[in-house]
């Protein structure tokens, strides 16, 4: 057991070295080895077997996963981020009484909140928020995410975009960029509902594009159902109303008559 732990620690050192050098490929490779090795430790979730070295093991595992989370942000891999975060979360929630809290905890939680915001998973965002202790809300990382969400909900999209400048942690930048995209999608969705058509100039302004090219590329990529005719963008096609369903009166009458007949027969 001791050997294993030392083994993992050694490997982790290697990983950290590569990580510090921003050599993502090497560190990813080492990380996957580390993860396999972690499964061999019985004191980790979900088994939580207590052993003399369990605290060390837990601390090490948490550290590894925290690094993994940050690494996946660096690699701009959202799925990996989610996977690692979910695995990590158990260390934050379930082992609170066993090992001392980590300094990375709130930044990472904030990151996760941001991710949920980016992915427009507002319900989960709030769930996560509720699970945090009230004290945590004051932490700058969490506060940041909460404020962003509020702006987002209010529709104060400019505030969202300007917040990029005031990130509490360098890893947040990646998500802030993604957030701009999310905001744009929101705006596009609203415009679709609100207008039949918009002039290109207006559309550019609303969607906060700098140039017509960017707008055209965006329309082509994300909204192929929009139609650009002349200087206007038309949204109608998406607005087509589903025809009101006809009431199946004949069928209903038949059924009712059938029931009446059956009733008469049975009783």
């Amino acid at each position: 057991m001791e050997g294993k732990l030392a083994d993992i620690t050694r490997l982790f050192q290697k990983f950290k070295a590569a990580y510090d050098k921003n050599d993502t490929e090497t560190s990813d490779n080492i990380l996957s080895q580390l993860k396999v090795k972690l499964t061999e430790l019985p004191s980790l979730p979900p088994l939580f077997k207590s052993s003399p070295s369990s605290i060390q093991e837990l601390l090490l595992a948490r550290d590894i996963l925290e690094h993994a989370v940050v690494l996946s942000v660096k690699m701009e891999d959202q799925d990996a981020f989610e996977r690692h975060f979910l695995q990590l979360k158990s260390y934050y929630t379930d082992t609170r009484g066993v090992i001392p809290p980590s300094g990375q905890e709130y930044p990472i939680l904030g990151l996760n909140l941001l991710r949920l915001l980016v992915q427009n998973r507002i319900a989960e965002f709030h769930t996560e928020l509720e699970l945090l202790p009230p004290a945590a809300h004051d932490h700058s990382c969490i506060k940041h995410a909460v404020e962003l969400e509020q702006s987002f909900m209010e529709g104060a999209y400019n505030r969202v975009l300007s917040a990029r400048q005031a990130v509490p942690h360098e890893t947040y930048v990646y998500f802030m960029d993604l957030l701009a995209k999310t905001v744009r999608d929101e705006i596009a969705g609203c415009s679709e509902k609100a207008y039949d058509s918009l002039s290109l100039v207006e559309a550019k302004k609303i969607l906060m594009f700098a140039s017509d090219q960017e707008l055209l590329a965006y329309v082509l990529d994300d909204h192929p159902d929009w139609e650009i005719r002349g200087t206007r963008v038309y949204f109608q096609r998406a607005k087509k109303l589903a025809p009101c369903k006809e009431i199946p009166s004949l069928q209903l009458i038949n059924q009712t008559l059938g029931y009446a007949r059956e009733l008469e027969r049975i009783v």
Partner: protein, 1025 residues
């Protein structure tokens, strides 16, 4: 202890690319699934894809996790699929809800599939999932290891796995108990005939494999399988063995006889080796012992017939005397050893198989124990209007049923003038009624009926109605055992062209040759049918059915074709019923024909289709049959069909009487009176004699229905349900009796319900209060005759004379203990319950003076005299005695008094005391405390519900051969002290054993015929047309 709060981390790990991580996640999930299945269920697709991933080497684990999740989601089918995929990881022995549920599901699935496979054609057979089979087999093995053999047997039976069935029987410690369990199951739960036969064959095989083969059960099985040769072989082997083996052979024969499967019995008899005629005269006298006793018992009543019978009885008189002397000396059956030769035993056995011995013993029992209450009949007779012919004949029917098989026809003799009012068909049925009364009286039957029978050659002075009735009566007397009378009936049929006589002869032939499939008779009956006469044709149709009962022969198609040809509704109806009888008990085999009939345009044939369903699936409680019947009961356009469909439910459910009230309870509230009638009859048929509380509750409101014929049906059904139920067991009996009385006396009551009430009286006291309606024998086999009789009886809606068919379903509720000479030794046993719980109902008190005013003058004098006499004799005043024959009143009463006093044994003492208690009313009430048990002496009346209370004394000289067998019917007794002289129950003196009722009847008879010689014998019972 730290626990995880979420499985999301593990689920996330499933997405990792490295297989080790996936495996790690799966392993942990498998542990956590019980708590975190809601979380996992959102990611179930990931697990499913892992299972489908061929490169993943722990696919089975993925399957197990998926299966568990689906189980928690309630998706048992998916869960099962994955559990099967999990292979050996799915551990059947695990004691969790999950495993138990899935194993159950698995077994269900397997049963479904294997049944489907067994029933589909060879080509359609789909291979069963071997994994499924493996699980079920593992399950079965586990059952057997744990000693839960009953479960194993049940599952194996349901899965149709005969190999496993056999294995579990062999492996169980108590193989014989297992076998009998299996036998019962195969009768009640195996709904498919062919498979049941396979099971039975297996059972026979296993039974024979036992160290001490249970021949009783083997023979039962073989009877179900219809293999007379094997039975004959077994019986033959037993006969060659020692004394107790011979006893066993007799017992088997009696048990087989109880199932009334005539054709089979005759086959067995014929397959037994011929007994050499060179055998000594001793066996002959023994075999005939029973018969002669029967004859003797009835000689007296026969004698009073006068005319030709008087001659007969004169002839038997000396014989009688000698035997009486021998037996009263109590020294019969001297040396036993010499007599027990093989041939002698063979003759005895054949006597049983042919029905001679049991029938005469039954007859003797019914005669000697007859407790019918003539006063009831008298009341009925007085209260029905003179001109109302329906009630008049109903009274005659009622009398016949009350005295069915007792040979006591006192009532008819006393009321000859009244009887003469019956004309035409009423006369037909009045004559036929004699057949019911003398049922089983094979020796004297012919001579009894002689005055009414058509005379050979001559044109015959009698009316065709009484002649036809007499032929029908002969059929009733010889029902199911008509070897001797067949020829005579056939000749009578050939010699006449009168449709009434043809009618009687056809019915008679049908009854006498029931189920024999005799081609000669069939051809003759068919000729009658082709004359296309409505009256004769109807009877012919029924008779053809009776002849061919259960053969499912091609004849059914022929009959159906003719039913389409003819114009007469009566003939169609007769044929429809006939066809139904032909498919008796064939279950699925009959489906084609049933389908054909139920889809017919003609409502009468659809009606026949209902009967066909009833007959084919009698007593199987087959779900599909019930479903079909219920469908017709609510959807057919013809009332007749609907009524019959409901009624037929009674037959299908007769093996599970407790089900019927529940199933028909809604129908009994139908707006359609016909459906209500059907519901009442269905309950009556299936719950007959059960005294079931639900059945009574269902019928009670129907007895005061707004529609007259519903009341009729309900009253009859109620009587059937309450048959032999005492007030102590079901207080509503008394209410019902009062209700009947009220209906009969009510001048404003409609004729239909009045008739119902009168018939109900007859059924309630049927067979001298010593019979029950039994559609199934004790071993669970359906009694063909009884079911057929009941079916034809239910036709009385259209044709009153068919009422008599109900007598076929009567079975004596008797314990008749026999020694190896097939005689009844004196022997007592105990019924450990209050006598009143199963006793006879008290006789009706003579009418009070107030009610007497309303009666006609002639009767008034009698009842007055009765009253006077009653007062004089106080406690001795038996109602029946009081109403005795006027002429012989004085002498008979004094004689009866003496005899009753002198010859009572403890049983009757107790009973009399009870009776007196009731009669005497308040005077003695406080004093008598009812004993908690009573001593019965062989032969005794033991009603089915009483059987469990019967105990045999330890110190008794005789013990029953088979202890496990229900103590009723014919029981072979083992003599524990064979060296002592045998004391037999003296059966020749009719005055001894009987209770008050018998004493009365016989005293009268003897008084008239023998002792006093004062009044001349009554005129032969003959009608002036």
């Amino acid at each position: 202890m730290t626990v995880v709060s979420t499985a999301s981390g593990l689920l996330a790990m499933l997405q990792e690319s490295h297989p080790t991580l996936k495996l790690h996640a799966l392993k942990n999930l498998n542990v956590l699934v019980d708590n975190f299945w809601p979380e996992i269920s959102t990611n179930i697709s990931a697990i499913e894809s892992l299972y489908e991933d061929d490169t993943f080497y722990e696919r089975q684990l993925a399957a197990l996790v998926a299966s568990k999740v689906f189980y928690y989601l309630g998706e048992l089918n998916d869960s099962l699929t994955y559990a099967l995929g999990a292979g050996p990881l799915f551990d059947v022995s695990e004691d969790t809800e999950y495993v138990q549920t899935l194993v159950t599901k698995c077994v269900d699935e397997y049963i479904l599939l294997s049944v489907k496979a067994a029933e589909s054609n060879e080509s359609e057979k789909t291979a069963l999932d071997p994994r499924l089979v493996a699980i079920v087999e593992r399950m079965l093995d586990k059952c057997m290891q744990d000693g839960k053999f009953q479960q194993a047997v049940g599952v194996a039976l349901e899965c149709r796995r005969l190999d496993k069935l056999e294995e579990s029987i062999i492996r169980s410690e108590n193989a014989s108990a297992m076998l009998s369990y299996c036998l019962r199951l195969s009768q009640t739960f195996v709904s498919r005939r062919e498979f049941r036969h396979e099971v039975l064959r297996l059972l026979v095989k296993s039974y024979q494999g036992l160290q001490q083969p249970d021949y009783l059960s083997i023979c039962q099985c073989l009877m179900f399988l219809d293999e007379p040769a094997d039975v004959a072989a077994i019986l033959d082997k037993l006969l060659k063995g020692d004394k107790s083996e011979a006893l066993l052979a007799y017992q088997i024969a009696f048990d087989l006889f109880e199932n009334e499967y005539q054709k089979f019995l005759l086959n067995v008899r014929d397959l037994l080796p011929e007994s050499t005629s060179a055998s000594s005269s001793a066996p002959l006298s023994v075999t005939n012992g029973g018969l002669i006793q029967g004859t003797r018992g009835n000689g007296i009543s026969a004698m009073t017939d006068g005319g030709p019978t008087a001659m007969d009885s004169d002839l038997t008189e000396p014989l009688l005397g000698s035997y009486a002397a021998e037996e009263s000396a109590d020294v019969s059956a001297p040396p036993v050893e010499e007599r027990t030769s093989y041939t002698e035993r063979l003759t005895k056995l054949k006597g049983i198989l042919s029905g001679e011995t049991p029938i005469s013993l039954t007859l003797q029992f019914l005669y000697s124990h007859n407790r019918s209450d003539l006063l009831i009949l008298k009341t009925i007779k007085q209260s029905v209007e003179m001109r109302n012919s329906v009630c008049h004949s109903a009274t005659i029917y009622s009398n016949a049923l009350m005295h069915a098989g007792t040979t006591v026809d006192t009532f008819l003799r006393e009321n000859l003038d009244w009887l003469k009012r019956a004309t035409n068909w009423a006369k037909f049925s009045a004559t036929a009624g004699l057949g019911v009364i003398h049922r089983g009286h094979h020796q004297q039957g012919r001579s009894l009926m002689a005055p009414y029978l058509p005379q050979n050659g001559g044109t015959g002075g009698g009316s065709p109605y009484s002649e036809g009735g007499a032929l029908y009566a002969l059929g009733l007397i010889h029902a199911n055992h008509g070897e001797g009378i067949k020829q005579f009936l056939l000749e009578s049929l050939r010699n006449t062209s009168n449709e009434v006589i043809q009618h009687g002869a056809c019915l008679g032939l049908g009854l006498a040759a029931l189920g024999t499939a005799d081609e000669e008779i069939y051809e003759d009956v068919k000729n009658v049918l082709y004359t296309d006469s409505a009256v004769a044709g109807e009877a012919a149709g029924i008779a053809m059915g009776l002849l061919m009962v259960g053969t499912a022969s091609e004849k059914a198609t022929e009959m159906l074709a003719y039913a389409h040809d003819t114009q007469h509704e009566k003939i169609i109806r007769g044929l429809a019923l006939g066809i139904a009888l032909v498919v008796y008990g064939r279950e699925e085999e009959a489906d084609t024909l049933i389908e054909q009939m139920t889809r017919d345009q003609d409502p009468i044939l659809r009606y026949g289709g209902m009967y066909a369903l009833a007959m084919a699936y009698r007593g199987t409680a087959n779900n599909s049959a019930i479903r079909r019947l219920l469908h017709f009961a609510v959807s057919d356009v013809s009332d007749d069909v609907r009524r019959t469909a409901v009624l037929a439910l009674g037959f299908v459910l007769c093996s599970e009487p407790e089900q019927t009230p529940r199933i028909v309870s809604l129908l009994s509230e139908s707006y359609n009176a016909h459906v209500r009638y059907g519901a009442a009859m269905a309950v009556g048929i299936s719950c007959a004699g059960s005294g079931s509380s639900e059945a009574i509750s269902l019928l009670e409101p129907l007895t005061s229905d707004a529609v007259d014929f519903v009341r009729q049906g309900a009253l009859i059904a109620m009587a059937m349900v309450l048959l032999q139920t005492t007030e102590a067991r079901e207080p509503r009996v008394a209410t019902f009796r009062r209700q009947l009385e009220k209906i009969i006396n009510d001048k404003h009551e409609e004729t239909m319900s009045k008739m119902g009430a009168i018939l109900a009286q007859g059924i309630l006291d049927a067979g001298g209060r010593n019979v029950a309606i039994m559609l199934q024998s004790r071993t669970g086999h359906d009694r063909v005759t009884a079911v057929v009789g009941m079916a034809v009886f239910s036709q009385f809606w259209y044709w009153y004379p068919l009422i008599y068919f109900i007598s076929l379903s009567f079975a004596p509720t008797a314990f008749i203990g026999l020694n190896e000479e097939l005689r009844m030794p004196k022997f007592n046993f105990v019924s450990e319950t209050k006598p009143s719980l199963f006793g006879y109902p008290p006789s009706v008190a003579p009418p009070a003076a107030t009610s007497a005013v309303k009666l006609p003058t002639a009767v008034l004098s009698t009842s007055n005299r009765a009253k006077v006499r009653g007062a004089k004799r106080e406690a001795e005043a038996k109602a029946s005695k009081a109403t005795g024959h006027e002429a012989g009143a004085g002498s008979s009463s004094s004689k009866a008094e003496g005899l009753v006093d002198g010859d009572k044994d403890s049983t009757h003492a107790a009973k009399d005391e009870n009776a007196m208690d009731v009669d005497g009313g308040t005077q003695k009430k406080a004093v008598v405390v009812e004993p908690s048990s009573e001593v019965l002496s062989n032969p005794a009346r033991v009603v089915p519900a009483q059987e469990k209370f019967i105990k045999f004394r330890e110190d008794s000289r005789y013990a029953p051969l088979k202890l496990k067998r229900a103590p009723s019917g014919f029981v072979m007794l083992r003599d524990l002290t064979p060296s002592e002289p045998v004391e037999l129950v003296s059966t020749d003196t009719p005055l001894s054993a009987g209770g008050a009722g018998t004493a009365h009847a016989n005293t009268n008879a003897t008084a008239i015929a023998v002792e006093d010689n004062e009044p001349p014998p009554p005129e032969p019972f003959e009608y002036v047309p």
